[in-house]
Symmetry: C2
Subunit: 292 residues, 2 copies
């Protein structure tokens, strides 16, 4: 297992972690500058942040700063109610793929979606089996497009508390079954993003990490699970403030062959988003050394 205690060579910052500081959007160009100024080598930006800053301008800034990507957030949301919404979904995913290529991302992270309309509080139906079938179909379609562009897809299983509205792929086992069905040769074209927050509870966590192996482990995200957790989405904890044994988890992931970045992704409306972005980045660096 790599020693993270003396440097932050393998730290990446998911830019949602510092996007809404003190009630204001912190623009992506400033986030990137602040990361580079701290010797952080990698980031994972969100599409809307990139769109606001400009795709080409972001690509140029990343190159100028020597910043890598640890992933690109995000494609997916594959479920639909009719041909029109299916078409729009496909167009959007193709754009996400092309943006990931322009930015030189190592993978496009997929949050697969679930019941159509549920995120807006108006679910079109209650058939999660149908949603799962559409997700499998959507990933299969996108994988063909991704292979043409040599852009790996990272399916991210989300915590079951998001099963209704954000993602109906909720366990490592389920995500790996999808990968195995579409890519039995383990070509590297499709794998998973392992986010500690989403999977820490899974009784099969270790065995599924071993099953995934190097070819399927495309991204590793960290934050912490707070007790109590007061919001389903925006009360994630800084590493070390909760109950996830992150060192043990990283040990398993690395034993399975993962040697990439640890990407810090924290949505924290009432705590970390209420601080100056630079202070949050400094804390990420310190906790990454001590707790990950």
């Amino acid at each position: 297992m790599r020693d993270f205690s003396t440097n932050h060579h393998w730290l990446s910052i998911n830019t949602a972690t510092v996007r809404r500081q003190l009630g204001r959007e912190w623009p992506l160009p400033q986030i990137l500058d602040a990361c580079a100024a701290r010797g952080i080598r990698a980031v994972s930006p969100w599409r809307d942040q990139v769109a606001a800053a400009g795709l080409e301008a972001t690509a140029r800034q990343l190159q100028a700063l020597g910043l890598q990507l640890s992933g690109y957030c995000r494609g997916g949301l594959f479920t639909y109610t009719d041909a029109s919404s299916q078409g729009a979904m496909r167009d959007d995913n193709l754009r996400a793929l092309d943006e990931a290529c322009t930015l030189g991302a190592p993978c496009l992270v997929l949050v697969v979606g679930s019941l159509p309309g549920a995120l807006a509080g108006r679910p079109a139906h209650r058939d999660i089996a149908l949603a799962r079938a559409q997700v499998a179909e959507g990933i299969a379609w996108l994988l063909d497009e991704a292979r043409k562009r040599r852009m790996p897809l990272a399916v991210e299983p989300l915590h079951p508390m998001y099963a209704a509205d954000r993602a109906c792929v909720n366990t490592m086992s389920q995500a790996l079954d999808l990968c195995d069905a579409l890519d039995p040769s383990r070509s590297g074209a499709i794998g998973i993003a392992v986010d500690a927050y989403h999977v820490w509870w899974d009784p099969q966590l270790r065995s599924q990490i071993e099953r995934a192996g190097r070819e399927r482990l495309l991204a590793f995200h960290v934050c912490d699970w707070l007790v109590p957790t007061t919001d389903l989405l925006e009360d994630r904890g800084m590493m070390g403030d909760g109950i996830i044994d992150l060192k043990r988890l990283r040990g398993w992931v690395e034993a399975a062959g993962y040697a990439g970045f640890s990407e810090v992704e924290i949505f924290s409306r009432d705590n970390w988003w209420q601080r100056a972005g630079g202070d949050v980045l400094d804390t990420c660096v310190e906790r990454h050394r001590r707790c990950v």
Copy 2:
């Protein structure tokens, strides 16, 4: 599949559903009277409600009203940090068993616990594997005591969002593995409580219900998952107000041999607990007929 549309013969009320109406505790004796007055045939009371009303008095009232139990809430919380807390846990579980016997419950429902101290916001450690080992040990110990009293134990897998503080048994598969290890002959001494709220998202839901079969299906709880859900514990929905396909789920449970009560258990701080208890019971009756 039984027809629930014309009567509420198989409706049970978990008494937490109407315990805190309009800011006040609704005493158990009044809840029982209100259920009986509506032709509801079964309830599942909580231990603290029974303690407040008196164990023997509750037993007498249940008998006088002709009310059955669909379960008794609850034993468990098996994890500990030292011999003293282990001893207290065991004493408490023995009392729960004896109370269940006195009340004539068909099973004692087990919420198994997780990281010690986490419910109070002060987790003693972050080792969920240790918690799971203590839970397996605790259930094995309690099963011996339960067999002596002929009181079945119903292990309730809780939603993974409770994995840190309430229960580290989080899937049907995990609960059934515990049952199979302790009772390979499927004697009826141990099984599971299937609560729609906790398990609806599970990709293995149908296959694990089939695996459970009649001998392991000791209780069936219903409510609904709201979108959005605004609180991890106390924002559960009335049947029909959310996205769980309860009829499909009941169909699977009954196809596997379950023929008992559907127990309504709703924790709803800002909605159903803010109404008169009788109105809530009336709604339960109506939704049970239409949505379960």
